[in-house]
Amino acid sequence: MEIAPSSVPRGAPLISVRDLRTYFTIGSGGLFGVQAVVKAVDGLSFDIYKGETLGLVGESGCGKSTTGRTILQLIRATSGQVLYDGRDLCRLGDGEMRRMRRRLQIIFQDPYASLSSRMRVETIIGDALAIHGLASGRERRAMVRNLLQTVGLDPAYAQRYPHEFSGGQRQRIGIARALAVKPEFIVCDEPISALDVSVRAQIINLLEQLQEEFGLTYLFIAHDLSVVRHICTRVAVMYLGKFMELATNPALYDDPLHPYTRSLISAVPVPDPDLEDSRRRIILMGDVPTPVNPPSGCVFHTRCPIARERCAREVPEWREFRPSHWVACHYAGEPIAQA
């Protein structure tokens, strides 16, 4: 069944990110040490609307995970704003932020690393309820059992330890823990990348079902463009700390404007032999440059198939090329000569 094209977002944004920057200092800085600054997130501005799933795609090291964590203040921003319900999360103190965190949760990639191995499932999920003072005693235990059922697990599993579960089941526990505090917004940080292929669809379906049931808003971070296309309302493409393109789901895939987006889409192998044989790929040259010393001008120009002299000089403006279709490229939409 085909979905009607997602509409252009309406209503007030749930989260507004303004000129967000997260810089890391690396190197010891001590005797003979050389310090360098990594601009992991470098001036992002975007909105996340209530009830939507905003996809954030890009290759490893592009800053997508750091963006998610900075929004949640798990990493503090260097500058910029994250406006949530009229308040700038970057300005909140630790105590206030902790209280706020009930409404903003995260699901991690690696279900093996994100659950404490010494705690029973009951404690892992129940602690979230205890910390936020939401329930105690018998009520808390009942809620945990309810949550397990919600994510498709046997309530009797509450007494077990994480190592007794498969990857997919652990991810369900991680989801139950995030859901426990009744959040409004969840950052899903590569939630299915570590799972077996035959289990991925189960978790994708679960996330979609929960979104509908509880009216959740997701920031869905992934490197798999096929999965993002399936689950997201809008998609942002990131490269070396910056957004290259942001558009509604059908527009980004059907009519990508940025040469990086186009090459990413064309690089995804498709399980169809005839199509694979006839497809013409845009194969990018070289590797992603180091974020310690990003290229001048447009950060993508060193690998761009349509780069010109201007691209090395001038940082392209982040502009709304078409309604709700944003891009940072001097030559957005120009055709690419394919190999």
């Binding site: 069944m1 991925r200 463009l225 096929s226 005839d274 990018l284």
Partner: protein, 331 residues
């Protein structure tokens, strides 16, 4: 695509690992072949036995805890399971080369690339040091390493992930092997680098005439790379066919389920992904009968009791299933 005669013939291969929970049947009696010059895809999830199969072919199963307990592996007519250490050394790297998922697994971080390349070339091709060095530089050039005569002096960590995998491919190709076992060679790489490496693998093996066994969990990768495909599950082969048959006429419920459950860029979006229920079995406790029966929507009592054998449903298309899905799919 110069397919010749039988290069490799595997029959009834069984590889078992000892574990605290009892024996783990990693590879449970599989039979298949690879022809000279062809690219065979082996698809499956983690734990299905695809990597253990590759390691078994090279006799690289760590013993203990692992052991090849049965079957036969004939390479160019020679029984690999009967070879002594010396013959094995001549085989590995020269006749059969391997590319792993993580290039750091196959590269020694303490040695310059030069040393790691020339060692094998000198040993297997009988070249002297200078000749081996020249050959190594030529191989690096062929896989697209810029300034190869300088970079050959570098250590592995001085290369990026994609460049490192190119070095591994150069090493694999350097003694002109007739078979390359590539175990998830692009899984650790970003999608734009994956496209580069797959293209390189395709071009270089086509030029050298080497056969490739490409192991992956990614159905898209095999669709573009392989002429024939084997689908594995819980240590057994579920289906084997040409790539067109696998993708356009799959006959095993597991293959069909997998193909339907992945979101695809080339199809309209679906409301809900058709999912396979349940989880892959614990290999220390593989269920009786068909290993997939606990998750199969066509399961019958027969499947719970009798392990289906691979049977030919069309020339070159083999399926291990009691059920004929074509009846259902037609409806």
């Amino acid at each position: 695509m110069t397919s010749g005669g039988r290069l490799l013939e595997v029959e009834g291969l069984r590889t078992v690992f000892r574990s605290t929970r009892g024996p783990v049947m990693a590879v449970n009696g599989i039979s298949f072949h690879i022809d000279a010059g062809e690219t065979l895809g082996v698809v499956g999830e983690s734990g299905c036995g695809k990597s253990v199969t590759a390691l078994s072919l090279m006799r690289l199963i760590p013993d203990p805890p692992g052991r090849i307990v049965g079957g036969s592996i004939r390479f160019k007519g020679q029984e690999i399971l009967a070879l002594g250490n010396r013959a094995l050394r001549d085989l590995r790297g020269k006749e059969i080369a391997m590319i792993f998922q993580d290039p750091m697994t196959s590269l020694n971080p303490m040695l310059r690339v030069e040393r790691q390349m020339t060692e094998g070339i000198q040993l297997h091709l009988g070249k002297n040091k200078a000749e081996a060095r020249a050959h190594a530089i030529e191989m690096l050039r062929r896989v697209g390493i810029p300034a190869a005569e300088r970079r050959i002096r570098d250590y592995p960590h001085q290369f990026s992930g994609g460049m490192r995998q190119r070095v591994v491919i150069a090493i694999a190709l350097s003694c002109n092997p007739s078979l390359i076992l590539a175990d998830e060679p692009t899984t650790a790489l970003d999608v734009t680098i994956q496209a580069q490496i797959l293209e390189l693998l395709r071009e270089t093996t086509r030029a050298s005439g080497a056969a490739v066994m490409l192991i992956t969990h990614d159905l898209g990768v095999v669709a573009g790379m392989c002429e024939r495909i084997i689908v594995m599950y819980a240590g057994s082969i579920m289906e084997e066919a040409s790539r067109r048959e696998i993708f356009y006429n799959p006959r095993h419920p597991y293959t069909i389920g997998l193909l339907k459950s992945v979101p695809r860029l080339d199809r309209p979006r679906e409301q809900k992904l058709p999912q396979i229920e349940g989880i892959p079995p614990d290999l220390a406790r593989v269920p009786a009968g068909c290993p997939f029966h606990t998750r199969c929507r066509f399961v019958t009592d027969l499947c719970r009791q009798v392990t289906p054998q691979l049977r030919e449903v069309q020339p070159g298309h083999r399926v291990a299933c009691h059920y004929d899905v074509t009846r259902e799919e037609a409806a």
